[in-house]
């Protein structure tokens, strides 16, 4: 079965709303059957082996830690802390929104979880202080894209499966690009909110700087555990995830006493189901990878790119455009598991560092997370804000421009991604 036919079958299955994990498995088995190399026990064994990985244990743990922190009410503490710091200036709450997104990104690895958690806190606050719902919604999901870019990142744990890259190196590589995106968003806020009146919440004012800081410090320590532990070589990523989980449970249950046993059961159950839906994509993608390897498709893709151009910048533009389109239609996890094994050999051939390539692929796909028709975050914020996808999409237009500028800088200035992993000795 030709690759074109395989991709067509995949597109048709996705179009009729077949869950993507199964759609990928169906096309992989169909391709293997048509090549007469399919074997049911081996297929089952490959799916099992695809899931049975020490590195992947970080996935449920990061998901759980993020969910426990959200259920433990840490968002309000973070928001209050940032509000005390920057709420005073013009457009203050917009800055609070993106900076809280950045701090949340240091605790949670999922843009969708951050959108849901932060959106439900920030949107009512922003509306009350005179911001339009559409602007607040667009801003929240634009800031949330840094969640998988700033460590910890569920997407980076997934990215390490087909590429065997160091998750620690990727974690460090994501920090500066994430901060760059936030900085550019803040520049845009300065422009967009230039006529916005300065409004302060008296409730926050009364609590005072010291109280808000003391309340937030235990939460702010968490990212230090992950980045510090992994950077110093103290923990593996999976161990860092386990320690983060234990710390999150300590904060929610013992320190803040903000999560009841019933809530914890719900959080554990939701985390397990989220894990399962992602892991199933991982498992069926391992069937797809089997097909790719047998048909030597990554080599063919590399040769095709080399035939098209010998210029790395032209290659990068092609990758950028391709992934922007892919990001609009395919969810991030399957997009990475399907396309990265195909694109990475070509990127290496063009002399692009695989860690830098990982960051630009993830940033690229994150832009797609906010675009219809398959923009998961767009649906989440639409249901929280009660605004239609169409009106939020219009409000998002200037934010797309900001994110495209960030993507161009991150793509063409590799040192932004590579400096931290280099000085930490992860890569040369």
């Amino acid at each position: 079965m030709s690759v074109a036919l395989i991709m067509l079958l995949l597109a048709v299955l996705l179009a009729v709303e077949t869950p993507i994990a199964f759609a990928v498995g169906i096309v992989a088995i169909a391709a293997l059957l048509s090549a007469d190399i399919a074997n049911a026990p081996i297929a089952a064994q490959r799916m099992f082996a695809g899931m049975n990985s020490y590195g992947l244990l970080a996935l449920p743990l990061f998901i759980l830690a993020g969910n426990v922190l959200v259920a433990g009410g840490i968002i309000q503490r973070l928001v209050d802390f940032v509000d005390i710091l920057v709420g005073r200036v013009r457009g203050g709450l917009a800055y609070v929104n993106v900076l809280s997104n950045m701090l949340m990104a240091g605790l949670s690895g999922s843009a969708t979880a951050d959108t849901a958690a932060l959106g439900s806190v920030m949107l009512p606050m922003m509306r009350a202080r005179g911001y339009t719902s559409d602007f607040a919604a667009a801003l929240t999901i634009s800031g949330a894209i840094v969640a998988p870019i700033i460590p910890p990142s569920i997407i980076m744990v997934i990215y390490a499966i087909p590429t065997r890259l160091s998750i620690g190196a990727m974690f460090l590589a994501g920090i500066l690009p994430g901060i760059l995106i936030i900085a550019l968003l803040m520049v845009y806020i300065g422009y967009a909110c230039r006529n916005h009146p300065i409004v302060r919440s008296e409730a926050t004012e009364k609590r005072g700087f010291l109280r808000a800081t003391l309340d937030a410090v235990p939460v702010l320590v968490a990212p230090v555990i992950i980045v510090g532990g992994v950077r110093g070589g103290v923990f593996t990523t999976t161990e860092a995830a386990a320690v983060l989980c234990a710390y999150a449970l300590f904060l929610a249950v013992v320190f803040y006493r903000s999560a009841s046993p019933a809530e914890l059961f719900k959080v554990f159950r939701e985390s397990a189901l989220t894990t399962a839906t992602i892991m199933l994509v991982v498992a069926t993608s391992s069937l797809f990878a089997w097909f790719l390897a047998i048909e030597s498709i990554p080599d063919a893709a590399r040769d095709m790119f080399l035939a098209l151009t010998d210029n790395r910048y032209v290659f990068l533009i092609m990758v950028n455009l391709f992934l922007l389109v892919v990001g609009c239609f395919v969810d991030t996890v399957p997009a990475i598991l399907i396309f990265v094994p195909i694109l990475q050999p070509a990127a290496i051939e063009f002399g692009i560092d695989p860690i830098h390539f990982a960051v630009l692929v993830i940033v690229n796909l994150m832009v797609g997370l906010n675009t219809p028709p398959v923009g998961t975050n767009l649906f989440v914020i639409s249901s929280i804000s009660g605004r239609s996808i169409g009106t939020i999409s219009r409000a998002l237009l200037p934010f797309y421009a900001v994110k495209i500028v960030a993507l161009i800088i991150i793509t063409y200035v590799p040192i932004i991604s590579l400096w931290l992993p280099r000085v930490s000795g992860f890569i040369r």
């Binding site: 199964f22 089952a44 397990a272």
Partner: protein
Amino acid sequence: MSAFRVFNRAIDVALVLALAVITVVLVVQVCMRYVFHAALPWPEELSQFLLVGISFFGMYRAITEDLHIRIDYLPKRPLTLRLLRAAGLVLVAGLLAYVGYGGLLLAISAWDHPSTALRIPMAIPYFIIPISCALSLAALVGAIRTILEAPASGSDTP
């Protein structure tokens, strides 16, 4: 509460316990490694098997609750579109039957293969595959039936 609900609730409890055990044993392992300098041989393998269990049994629960990641933009009522969606799920059933059958053969052949650390027969973790696939097939039949039954008017998403 129907037997079906009780069963699903039991699966949920098992999923929660599995995730809790993963968290606890890995934290214990970190303590053993860095505090007592005596890492245990089994926590990683146990956690990985539990993760496989969460993934496969979670697959079943995610079918019953329609949580699997998919594009969701088609109108819900036109018959042709419902037939197409159902056809997609029939193919999913084919995939699960294939993988479940493969998993059954794999498990049967692995009674004598002990796992590396826990030394349990590999058949035990491998049996997760056929059992969860059989459950998922049953859940898919329900999902296909729900799609084919005409939805009540007004349930269409704009």
